[in-house]
């Protein structure tokens, strides 16, 4: 025995189906409403009722949290019925669905970029709408997310430095890239300090003959940092890094000098060894010639 709903679903009474769909929607039984609406959309193609039907259809998908399909339907609505009183709302909802579909910052942000575009398009189309303000806020949130992603991924290289020191070098490059991509990134101050830190760690873990140049670079980054943030809360930490870099250079020079002295000493020894050998060979030669 089929339920009343099943009977209706299989029947051909489109008008009744339409009414029931709206009733179910208002009763928040979205799953059933969707089944009816899906079947009706095809049949109402080219009729006057299609406009309202499509509006409800898109909202049903939205209520069911199928944002991917919903945003497509909202956009389709706004494109098909640009003069409708609901066009602005649907344009907005389409963009908002993208916004809801934007994943957390550590995942692929393709939908975030699309959401920004869609929200921006809405603002351009309806600059005076009340919804434009909200859309602008959403864009700000999404940008925030992208900034967090850029910062986290650049910082990752710093975190991985302990296992491979070239990661410190990568951290400097990645942090600088993130700042170029997001000139007013909210983590700017922290990032600038991290650049000094990463460069310092890179220099500290390098071979002595490369240290001077790399510490110099760290000091240069420190100067840039202090210039940009003269009263930074990280000033003390940064200053310490600068001082450590300076003493690092002194140590490196000292070590290089020691190494050079060792090599010189060793060479001298070798030289004198050779001379001893040379004298013997010469003697032999002399003997030979004398003979």
């Amino acid at each position: 025995c089929k339920s009343r709903f099943e009977k209706l679903r299989l029947s051909n009474d489109v008008a009744k189906k339409y009414q029931e769909g709206i009733r179910l929607y208002n009763k928040k039984d979205y799953n059933k409403a969707l089944i009816l609406f899906e079947g009706l959309v095809q049949k109402y193609r080219g009729t006057a009722e299609a406009e309202d039907l499509n509006y409800y259809y898109a909202y049903t998908l939205y209520r069911l949290k199928d944002y991917t399909t919903a945003r497509y339907k909202f956009k389709e609505f706004a494109d098909t019925y640009p003069a409708s009183k609901n066009a602005e709302e649907c344009r907005y909802m389409g963009a908002y669905c993208y916004y809801l579909d934007s994943p957390k910052s550590s995942l692929d942000q393709e939908n975030t970029y699309k959401a920004i575009d869609a929200l921006q398009l809405f603002i351009n189309l309806y600059p005076k709408s009340d919804r434009a303000k909200q859309a602008a806020q959403y864009i700000a949130n999404l940008r925030d997310k992208l900034e967090t992603k850029a910062f986290d991924n650049a910082k990752l290289y710093y975190d991985l430095g302990g296992y491979d020191i070239t990661n410190y070098k990568s951290a400097v490059v990645a942090l600088k890239n993130a700042q170029i991509e997001f000139p007013d990134i909210k983590y700017a101050e922290e990032m600038n300090l991290l650049i000094v830190k990463a460069q310092f760690m890179y220099a500290k873990n390098s071979y002595a003959n490369r240290q001077e140049e790399r510490f110099e670079q760290a000091i240069e980054y420190y100067n840039e940092f202090m210039e940009a943030y003269p009263d930074s809360k990280y000033a003390k930490e940064a200053k310490q890094l600068k001082q450590d870099s300076e003493s690092g250079i002194v140590n490196a020079k000292k070590q290089l000098a020691e190494n050079a002295a060792m090599i010189a000493k060793y060479k001298a020894l070798e030289e004198s060894d050779k001379k001893k050998k040379d004298t013997t060979t010469n003697k032999n030669l002399d003997n030979k010639t004398q003979k």
């Binding site: 051909n12 080219g46 986290d152 991924n153 991985l160 070098k169 990568s170 490059v173």
Partner: protein
């Protein structure tokens, strides 16, 4: 345009106001909507005759709902005109059904037909296009005599709609009777026929696919055929004409007319534009000497295309020269000799700038980024790029065939690299139930390969489980009620602490086997095994970065209660050991490797209790003797994979294991011995802590030492084993959904009781064939038929067992 009794002069159009439009002939469609669509709106001013009326018909026609549309002027009243649109509605197509073809052909045909359902009406045009598409499609597949019939039936669910039923009679596929060549001098026709890889003459000895004709494949073959001749040095070879003619009702013949031309050789090879590397080095890598047979394919391969990276392009690409290009120009052709000049563009040395991941909808960025070897600030390297792709593949969360790194060079000598990935389902579930011995046996196993422990208590991260950190969690339970219960848990994190590639793993298990009586019952007996283990693993950078090192600590506890037929009946035994494993894994794929090698060396040792526990082992009770197990165990394994030809892969494997004792008075450990033979699956044997080694062709545990007491040796296992495998593997399916391959194998192995008896060449042998399939959700399943050549005396059926079936083995066994 007809007007009742009035003629409109096309040369003298004039303005009219539309007084109204009516519609006649429609049955199902909404009149108002159609009139709106015609855009002949009441009150508008139009030119008549003019564009508006033409557009009206065009607009309506575009709806695809009518078989005929007429626009009539019903009357003209001064400046006012009244229209009537007369339409012939046709039933709409609401479904297409096919009979007589396979499901995959149906999909292909539907794709070729396009989406007509709901959009088209049923008329002759539809019949004809459908027939043409189907016939052409099947013709290309080798069905030359296809018959197509139609039937329509009304759609019960939709008004004015019909379902089109297409009945197809494919007939028989035509075969190729003979292939003839004309114009070949050096090459024999038989040889040339071999170059047509997919188009073969029929012959009585060809059982599978005996010479069926496939147009698509034949077209491909023709191209490859000429390429093959070029490769052999006949660089002028060309196809003049070819014809496929009807030989009889069932077969066709093929005639190919070709120009062979002379055979060419390499002449002088010179290099231009190389600043970074000297000509001598380039010549050495290029490896083709003047006088060798000229082959463009070989030339290309040596310049850019070799698989193992020993070509000229790789030399540059691994050193940052991303935009490197080499253009081999044939500067002079004299007689049969071709001089080649390699024009090199080195370009700048590129530094990696931005590295990003796209397509990771589940897995967090850092899980992927930390595996990537091209890092910001480094010089670009193709080798590092490929290694990164391999490492991403090893994570097991992405479809390897779709992992695609895209380098995008910038103007300033830097390059941004985007790694495109596509998530694939990586979780495995094992659920089985059965009825045996009057009891229900149930198993539930879950493995999550991309778990996120830190999100375990964050509600919003559940989709449906916390995922994305690349951690692995498995849970497994098996029970048949009171008789047998086993529960295990394991968790591993590949980057412990997130900063170093140090993997951390913890696992624990408990299992109980008993006669099912209450513990208080005097008849009760049972054995319980508890275990816990911790491990730390590290990828090494030295000797090379394929090496890894794993340390682990394991503790097992055995509790026996009146348990019969074991070393002792009541008491406890402990096995505390530390294990060191060093491995080198350069296999290029973890399910179906086609190249690379895997080496593993393991040492496991317990503390030497007998040195300090003051037990006299000669007089001690069993309970005392076995309280603390002591042994040291050495294992070595080597596997290597090599592509033989085409997709055929050779696998060679050697394994060796030795279990030794510290103290002769204590004797060899009863635990941790090796059991050789059979499917390699852990059954109940793990209760003794034995290690199970598969050997096809023989029954489980059947390969015992020569001269050993069969019943004792089979139940206890042996302290020494060695095993060799040679296998040819051919992949039948190699896709994201499944990997399946067929194997032909030869195995040899044996076990020994004493090191003095050990002889690695005195082995039991077997050979056979098998098939394996890997399904992401189930793991590997396999069935093998093996023939054992050597009887094992004293063992049932001589130890032989033809079929072995193995299932869902993630660890050991299969590899």
């Amino acid at each position: 345009l007809k007007v009742n009794g009035l003629n409109l002069d096309y040369f003298a159009p004039r303005e009219y106001i539309i007084g109204g439009t009516t519609l006649s002939g429609s049955k199902y469609l909404d009149k108002d909507v159609i009139i709106v669509l015609s855009k002949l709106t009441k009150g508008e001013t139009i030119m008549l005759p003019g564009e508006a009326t033409a557009n009206a018909i065009k607009n309506l026609w575009a709806q695809g709902l009518f078989d005929d549309i007429k626009l009539n002027v019903s009357k003209i009243n001064g400046d006012t005109v009244y229209f009537d649109i007369e339409v012939v509605e046709l039933p709409r197509l609401s479904g297409l059904e096919f009979t007589g073809i396979s499901k995959s052909q149906k999909t292909d045909i539907q794709e070729k037909l396009g989406d007509k359902v709901g959009k088209t009406i049923i008329n002759d045009n539809l019949y004809n296009t459908t027939r043409a598409v189907i016939t052409k499609f099947l013709y290309e597949k080798g069905y030359f005599y296809t018959k197509v019939d139609y039937k329509t039936k009304p759609d019960p669910n939709q008004e004015n709609s019909m379902i089109l039923q297409v009945n197809i009679d494919k007939g028989k596929r035509v075969k190729v009777q003979k292939i003839e060549f004309e114009g070949n001098k050096e090459f024999k026709s038989a040889k040339l026929r071999k170059y047509l890889k997919k188009t073969k003459q029929r012959a009585f000895y060809k059982i599978f696919g005996s010479g069926k004709f496939n147009k698509e494949k034949y077209e491909e073959d023709k191209l490859n055929f000429i390429a093959k001749l070029h490769e052999k040095g006949y660089r002028d070879a060309a196809l003049i004409s070819d014809s496929v003619y009807r030989y009889n009702d069932k077969t066709v013949g093929i005639k190919i007319k070709m120009y062979e031309g002379p055979k060419y050789y390499f002449g002088k090879i010179s290099w231009v534009g190389n600043a970074k590397y000297p000509t001598d080095l380039l010549n050495k890598i290029f490896g083709i000497e003047p006088g060798e047979v000229f082959s463009e394919e070989k030339l290309e391969k040596k310049l850019r295309g070799s698989a193992n990276g020993d070509d000229v392009s790789s030399l540059y690409l691994n050193d940052g020269y991303l935009t490197f290009n080499v253009d081999p120009v044939q500067t002079r052709i004299y007689g049969d000799t071709v001089d080649v000049e390699m024009r090199i563009y080195e370009g700048p040395k590129y530094t990696v700038n931005k590295v990003s991941v796209m397509g990771n909808t589940i897995t967090n960025d850092r899980v992927v980024l930390r595996e990537i070897r091209t890092k910001p600030g480094d010089y670009f390297s193709k080798e590092a790029l490929i290694r990164g792709v391999r490492e991403i593949g090893q994570l097991g969360n992405f479809d390897e065939s779709k992992t695609n790194p895209v380098p995008k060079p910038n103007q300033d000598g830097t390059v941004d690299i985007v790694y495109h990935v596509e998530e694939k389902p990586s979780d495995q579930i094992e659920l089985s139930g059965g009825f045996g011995g009057g009891r229900v046996i149930g198993t539930l196993g879950l493995t999550f390969n991309n778990f996120s422990l830190k999100n375990l208590f964050k509600g919003e991260a559940y989709r449906p489980l916390p995922k994305g950190d690349g951690q692995k969690l498995s849970l497994r339970g098996q029970t048949n009620g009171k008789y047998y219960q086993s529960y295990s848990f394991s968790f591993s994190e590949p980057w412990f602490g997130g900063k170093k590639p140090v993997s951390f793993g913890v696992s624990a298990f408990t299992s109980l086997q008993s006669n099912g009586l209450a513990k208080s019952n005097s008849q009760y007996y049972g054995i319980r095994l508890n275990g816990v283990s911790f491990s730390l693993g590290r990828k090494l950078k030295w000797p090379d970065n394929w090496f890894s090192l794993v340390h682990s600590i394991n503790l097992n506890q055995y509790i026996l209660n009146n348990y019969p037929g074991y070393l002792f009946s009541t008491g406890e035994s402990y096995n505390l050991n530390i294990t060191q494993e060093i491995a080198r894994d350069s296999r290029n794929h973890h399910i179906f490797p086609t190249g690379g090698a895997y080496l593993r060396f393991t040492i496991q040792a317990t503390p030497p209790y007998s040195l300090f526990n003051n037990v006299n082992y000669n007089t001690a009770s069993d309970k005392q003797r076995y309280k603390f197990t002591e042994y040291h165990k050495w294992k070595f394994e080597a596997q290597f994979f090599e592509t033989v030809v085409g997709k055929l892969v050779f696998k060679g494997q050697a394994q060796f294991g030795f279990l030794g004792s510290y103290n002769s008075a204590v004797g060899q450990s009863a635990f941790e011995r090796f059991k050789l033979g059979g499917d390699g699956m852990q059954g109940f044997d793990f209760l003794q802590g034995s290690e199970i080694i598969a050997m096809r062709g023989y029954a489980n545990n059947a390969v015992i030492p020569v001269g050993a007491n069969p019943s004792i040796a089979q139940s206890s296992g042996s302290p020494i084993f060695t095993k060799y495998v040679m296998e040819l593997r051919y992949p039948v399916i190699n896709s994201q959904q499944a990997t399946a391959f067929l194997t032909v194998f030869g195995e040899a192995g044996n076990t020994w009781n004493k090191f003095g008896d050990f002889n690695p060449f005195n082995v039991r042998r077997s050979a056979g064939i098998g098939a394996k399939i890997f399904l992401p959700i189930f793991g590997l399943l396999g069935i093998d038929y093996g023939h054992a050549f050597d009887r094992i005396p004293g063992v049932q059926d001589g130890g032989k067992q033809s079929f072995t079936f193995s299932i869902a083995q993630q660890l050991g066994g299969f590899n």
